[in-house]
Amino acid sequence: MPPKERLDVVAAAYAQRRRRIVFAIGMLLALVVVAIFWYYLRPLPVDYANAKEHFKYGSIGSDSYDGIPLAVWRILPETFPEYLPHGGENYLRAIALRDQQQPPATPARLSLSKTRNPSNHIEGYSQFGFMFESGRELPVGFSQRRVYVDRVGLNCAVCHSSTVKVNSTDQAYKLYNDPDWKPVFIGKPEEYRVLVLGMPAHAMDLEAYFTFLFRCAEDGRFTSDILLAAIDRAAAAGRVPKLSLIESAIIKRSIGTLRSTLLTRRKQLHYLALLPHSAGDVVSPQFGPGRVDTFSPYKSIQFGFPLDGTFGVSDYPSIWNQRPREGMNLHWDGNNQSVFERNISASLGAGTTPVELDMNRMLRTAAWIGSPPPNRAAELKSGPELIPLKTEELKSPFPRHGEMKIPNYPFAVNSVLAAEGAKHYQEYCASCHGSNGDWSRALIDDPLDNA
């Protein structure tokens, strides 16, 4: 190697200038990259001007980097129908019925009319009790966010919305006694299933949905090649949009990650009753529609606790009238008094993570359902230390009663049965929950404490 030549002062100055120019160009390129990322690739969820729509479809963060790509999510039911409830029998029947009533258009006709045939995933995910509004691609309780590609995740409405079956449109109007309110019917019009926000999702089977995803991921066909081929087939039939080259490249790369994420969750939730088990395995009771094991997933996913064999499957609660709940014993075991904390925990339960939790959007929902502002919650002495938040960051104020309407019981009340029930309540319930529904602020008589 010959010795390095010494640069004269002008050459050295030119070299320095070259370095500066290269640095400046580098910085400029970096700026351009940041700008491209910021304007085009930044993870941005689909947002809704209407707070009610935000409750139904807005993001709380579960659709972020761990979200399932929408294109993959759409074709999972038709690729793995056998893992749907009842072995996919009802799904296939529904598809057949749909195609019989409205035969799918040919691709040539579709390209002329610039429309799409209905996608099979609507029938597929309806099997879990998810509710598709007419013309909507996602069911109530699913949000969408673009993280390089569109992804889906769950939000509050998935567990806290359901339908009430009424006998007529008139009866539907009785739900809110409000002539301006228009009922949203789910499913066939003749079924009169009215969407009611904030009520327990009594027909939705979350365990079945999770089990479906886990079993799909376990399947040997859950590979990028097969799934992309399935997407291409569905796109050719006009059921789903065609993937661009970039989308297909990103999805090809992301399917492996998605699979390993799902398999990790599957290992963590191995006790779910619908998963295949060996003799001697500890198995949780089956959730069934409208019920969920609230804390076992926390223990295994968030905390990594070893399985202790205790399970607590319970009904979904309604989430109306949140303001008075501040300071009450919240969660099912009453271990926290902060509605703000309860909202965060519930969001984590819906699939987001502490890193990906979209705090501002979650709080928009919280405000809409009438939760107290977080800073008020932070003033409470009890409970864990809370993150200080600035309410100015929030576009929505926290109205005293929230904007979510609280429905009436639409049906006639049998006064004889009600009187009998009141007696039962006084006998078995009032010791803990207070008599006359007077919103007791604490557990009156905690049997565990007494023990």
């Binding site: 010494r6 002062v9 002008v10 050459a11 200038r17």
Partner: protein, 514 residues
């Protein structure tokens, strides 16, 4: 002093009046050959016979005094290689010869005139390039040019560094030593090059000097450097040597790039000249322009084709030169730059001959003491213009460089009352002026000097290209009277070291054995 001598049968001529300086120097007429450089000499700064011939050709043409070319006082302060320097005592013999020949040649100009047959005086211009080091040569590859500032020369991007105080004292002494050598060589005086952006200007100019010590800031501080030089020269030469200062009447530092500060004004220059005169300067030589070349100096065109041909030698000199060269070579930007150059001179092309600095010099003449002559340079080549300026008392002398290169016998022409203005009607047999042309201010000589011998490169002035080249090469023709042999000293160091007598290896061994 300076009484008017009526010449027999001549009109009120003021050009051929002797000019006496307070130093005792007497110049036989009011025409000075201004300092103009040329790459005639040896690389290390030893003068050549070509330069002797070059300078004597002007003396023979009849100028009263020749101001030498840019003469660096140190290698680090050169502007281009192949310029005779005064950085060492071994250069004295050359300057002694050139002084002798110039004096002699002056007597041949007007042999029949009792006054004008006197010798042509020779003043050495002591110079230091500072950051305006267009081609530093191999000795300066690894150093930055010395300057008052760390900011590069803004035209060529020549790198520089602010001088420390000890460096300032060293350079002041280099100037003083240069003056002593000029005195020992028998020259008639020295001129400090304090104009056109060279080192002294870099200290004087408020647009360039950004020092915060006693050599920067106020005008008095900025002038400290040149005043120290004058003082050191006066001490070193015992006050016996004529010292004059060439300075800018105004800097026009924003001529090329309008966003720059304008620099020193006429009032600043007057103040500096006043101090210099108090310190011992015997004359003021007025120019303008804070860089060289500058749209005002040498006044004239920007020859784009010559810039493309010859500016390439400077590509390795600065960090803006490649950019400049791209401008010059660009089909559209080169001509645009030329237009800009001519526009920013502030003087119309046809008015250059009136003297671009004349009114500045007139203002200085009014304000400065009467016993200090003011000499002005900048585009003069018309007898009428010069005579009018002298008659009106605007200046005491006129220095000419490039128009004299074009017509070295211009003083002889003036002596016979000929002027370019008369050329159209003068009979051809009466005076060869009909067949000659004045300097066109094309400035091609300026760019050719970067790589070629100095001379007039305006082909339109010559019948053929070969005639032009023959005239340029005249200085290299072998003339016995200028041969080094006639003085008995070869060109180069006057007292070369005797070569070491290396004996053959065997004989050394043999000696040892013996």
């Amino acid at each position: 002093m300076n009484e008017t001598i009526q010449r027999q049968g001549k009109d009120d001529d003021r050009i051929f009046q002797p000019l006496t300086f307070r130093s005792g120097l007497v110049v036989k007429n009011r025409l000075f050959r201004s300092n103009v450089s040329g790459r005639f000499d040896h690389y290390d700064g030893h003068g050549s016979d070509a330069r002797i011939k070059w300078e004597t050709s002007f003396a023979e043409g009849g100028v009263g005094c020749i101001i030498s070319s840019f003469t660096p006082v140190s290698v680090r302060g050169r502007i281009l290689v192949n310029y005779a320097m005064i950085d060492d005592d071994d250069k004295i013999p050359f300057w002694r010869r050139i002084g002798k020949y110039v004096h002699e040649a002056g007597t041949r100009a007007f042999p029949n005139d009792p006054v004008q047959s006197g010798s042509c005086k020779y003043i050495m211009q002591l110079s230091h390039s500072g950051r305006q080091r267009d081609g530093g040569g191999v000795e300066n590859v690894f150093n930055r040019a010395q300057s008052s500032t760390n900011r590069n020369d803004y035209f060529h991007g020549i790198l520089c560094e602010a001088m420390t105080k000890s460096e300032i004292h060293e350079v002041v002494q280099q100037f003083a030593e240069g003056a002593r050598r000029a005195q020992e060589a028998g020259l008639d005086g020295v001129e400090l090059h304090g104009a056109n952006g060279y080192l002294i200007t870099q200290y004087l100019s408020s647009a360039i000097n950004d020092r915060s010590d006693e050599y920067g800031g106020t005008l008095r501080n900025r002038a400290r450097f040149v005043l120290e030089i004058i003082d050191a020269i006066k001490q070193k030469t015992h006050g016996e040597l004529h010292v004059q200062l060439k300075t800018n009447a105004a800097d026009f530092d924003n001529a090329l790039y309008p966003w720059r500060k304008p620099g020193n004004t006429l009032n600043d220059a007057l103040q500096v000249c006043g101090w210099a005169i108090d310190a011992g300067a015997d004359a003021i030589h007025v120019s303008s322009g804070s860089i060289f070349p500058h749209p005002r100096n040498p006044p004239g065109d920007f020859p784009v084709a010559d810039a493309i041909n010859w500016y390439d030698i400077m590509l390795s000199s600065g960090v803006n030169t490649r950019f400049n060269y791209k401008i010059f070579t660009n089909r559209w930007l080169g001509p645009l730059f030329r237009l800009w150059w001519n526009y920013r001179r502030g003087v119309a092309y046809q008015d250059i001959k009136q003297g671009v600095n004349l009114e500045f010099a007139a203002a200085m003449r009014r304000e400065l003491p009467k016993e200090i002559p003011v000499i002005v340079t900048g585009g003069f080549q018309h007898r009428g213009v010069i005579n009018d300026a002298l008659r009106a008392g605007k200046v005491d002398g006129v220095s000419i460089a490039r128009p004299l290169i074009a017509n070295r016998d211009l003083p002889k022409l003036f002596y016979q009352e000929m002027d370019w203005a008369d050329a159209s009607w003068m009979p051809a047999d009466k005076w060869p002026l009909r067949h000659r042309k004045p300097c066109s201010y094309c400035n091609k000589c300026l760019f050719n000097d970067l790589e070629n011998p100095l001379g007039c490169y305006d082909q339109t002035r010559y019948p053929t290209y070969d005639v032009m080249i023959d005239e340029i090469m005249e200085v290299f023709k072998d003339l016995e009277q200028y041969q080094s042999a006639c003085t008995g000293t070869p060109p180069g160091p006057s007292s070369p070291q005797a070569p070491v007598d290396l004996k053959p290896l065997e004989s050394q061994e043999g000696d040892h054995a013996a």
